[in-house]
């Protein structure tokens, strides 16, 4: 027997509108994180490849901690450590964006690095011979190829991020998942949870379609 799946008692439109509010929050979280973490990841990747130990070792440590500890714990750490230990008050949503950004930048950094290292070194040598500076080589020769290669992986991470926005509920951000849980308690029904699942699917369909288009546009040459 289903747990009150009937909609008779539920004000369907108001439940959906509340879930939409949460969806907007989730989308905001997603966009801010992507916009901040993609460039940051590139920076970190470049530093990871540096030969200077003083740069490489802290970066490797950062990558280890960010990828090696649960994101949910990182969220709680950034939420409660500043006010409790350092006496600095923080804003919930900003903490969520910051925490997601530094976490995802770590993953993006390794993705970029994999892409960069897959470009044949002969290209760099050729560019040097032709008089291009390292920066020019990187920006105009290496990076465009890297981007084309890593699009599927970046699409993966983006879709994971859409779902990970649900984790912000542990620091009280009123995003989609938390709102769905509230509705579940109000109506004593799992229907809000199912609707939330549908909304996540719709968001991710848009993300997947977007990256698919990007891939097609970048496919002006093979390889």
């Amino acid at each position: 027997m289903n747990f009150n799946v009937s909609l008779s008692a539920m004000d369907y439109s108001s439940m959906v509108s509340f879930l939409l509010e949460g969806t907007v929050k989730a989308v905001e979280l997603f966009f801010l994180t992507i916009v901040l973490s993609l460039p940051l990841g590139l920076l970190v990747a470049r530093l990871r490849l540096s030969k200077i130990m003083v740069v490489q070792i802290p970066i490797k440590l950062y990558l280890l901690i960010m990828r090696g500890t649960p994101l949910i714990l990182q969220l709680m750490f950034f939420m409660f450590f500043p006010p409790l230990v350092l006496g600095i008050p923080v804003d919930r949503f900003t903490v969520a964006v910051f925490s997601f950004t530094v976490n995802y930048a770590a993953y993006f950094a390794e993705i970029y690095r994999g892409g960069i290292e897959s470009i044949p070194v002969g290209q760099q040598e050729a560019a040097y011979v032709l008089g291009l500076s390292p920066l020019q080589t990187f920006m105009r020769i290496t990076l465009p190829q890297v981007v084309k290669r890593i699009i599927p992986t970046i699409a993966n991470e983006s879709m994971t991020l859409v779902k990970d926005t649900a984790l912000a509920s542990v620091i009280g951000v009123t995003e989609l998942f938390r709102n769905a849980e509230s509705m579940k308690a109000t109506y004593f029904s799992v229907v809000p949870i199912a609707v939330a699942g549908l909304f996540y699917l719709i968001m991710n369909s848009v993300v997947a379609a977007f990256y698919s288009r990007v891939e097609k546009k970048l496919n002006y040459y093979k390889g």
């Binding site: 923080v90 900003t94 542990v170 308690a185």
Partner: protein, 292 residues
């Protein structure tokens, strides 16, 4: 390639500065009450009793009391079908803040982190069917008890279970971090007789387990159980034997004595002039409050 070193150092500086900027922007955005009241303070570690007890003054200056709650806890604090946060505790809080001449701000939090949220200054009080216990008193400054409650066991109507002893070898579930968990811990024999104890994130999930027969019983607040059962016409039974008698109070930071006293006095005034009984009638059909 000598110039890569230079570029790397520039990038390293860019990275550290961007992290600093991101960190600074997280710091400068504050919750509204905290920003108003922290203008004159450099350290906000208000759990230290050494900080001057200007808790009431700070809240009055900010003009707002921030109430932290798990907004999925009917009937104490939950969302109604107009997506507003309502509840018995909310009505009490609104009346108290009205009498104090300030606004009430409702901040949904994750219940597991309630004391963390309180101590970090994101909320000023925990007011959400918050049971008073000795362990909690060590971390939280409670008002006088305003409501009585029992931790009871709920079973399916057709299960044939009528006493705690019948639950031997069965599965019990409860809300993690709730006083139900504490009540169970203090009944070691009963706990040991169970096959399994499942901790869940909230009470509705617990009811789902009961309905789906994944669990045989739920341990939860009697008030909440009665509300669910009557609101949803479920064939569940509440066992007569309860596990703990407890009382609800409002929780404040340990150092916030003046704020706690003010709210306490307001609740007492509401008891004296009958407002408390009236609000209780609206929600429960009778006066369940105990504050004098």
């Amino acid at each position: 390639m000598k110039s890569t070193r230079g570029m790397t150092l520039i990038l390293a500086m860019l990275l550290t500065s961007s992290v600093l900027v991101a960190g600074c922007s997280a710091m400068t955005k504050t919750t509204s009450a905290a920003s108003a009241s922290d203008a004159s303070q450099t350290v906000t570690d208000s759990t230290k009793a050494a900080a001057a007890d200007d808790s009431l003054a700070k809240v009055k200056t900010a003009g707002t009391l921030i109430l932290g709650l798990d907004s999925a806890f009917p009937p104490m604090g939950f969302m109604n079908d107009k997506n507003e946060i309502v509840g018995f505790d909310i009505d009490l809080a609104r009346e108290v803040t009205k009498r104090m001449g300030i606004e009430l701000k409702l901040q949904p939090i994750d219940w597991d982190s309630n004391v963390l949220e309180l101590n970090s200054g994101n909320i000023d009080c925990i007011w959400n069917g918050f049971s008073i216990s000795e362990e909690r008193k060590a971390e939280v400054n409670f008002t006088d008890a305003y409501m009585q409650n029992r931790q009871v066991v709920i079973v399916r109507g057709d299960s044939g279970i009528t006493a705690l002893a019948d639950l031997a070898g069965k599965t019990l579930c409860l809300q993690a971090g709730s006083s139900a968990a504490d009540a169970l811990a203090s009944h070691a024999d009963f706990k040991a007789s169970l096959k399994n104890v499942v901790e869940l994130s909230d009470n509705v999930t617990a009811f789902m387990e009961l309905e789906g027969k994944t669990s045989d019983a739920i341990l939860m607040d009697e008030i909440v159980a009665a509300y669910y059962i009557t609101q949803n016409n479920k064939d569940y039974k509440i066992l007569d034997e309860s596990l703990a008698d407890e009382q609800y109070g409002v929780g404040f930071r340990l150092g916030d004595q003046s704020l706690r006293d003010e709210v306490n006095n307001q609740l007492k005034a509401m008891a004296a002039d009958g407002t408390l009984a009236k609000i209780s009638d609206t929600w429960f059909g009778k006066n369940v409050t105990v504050i004098k």
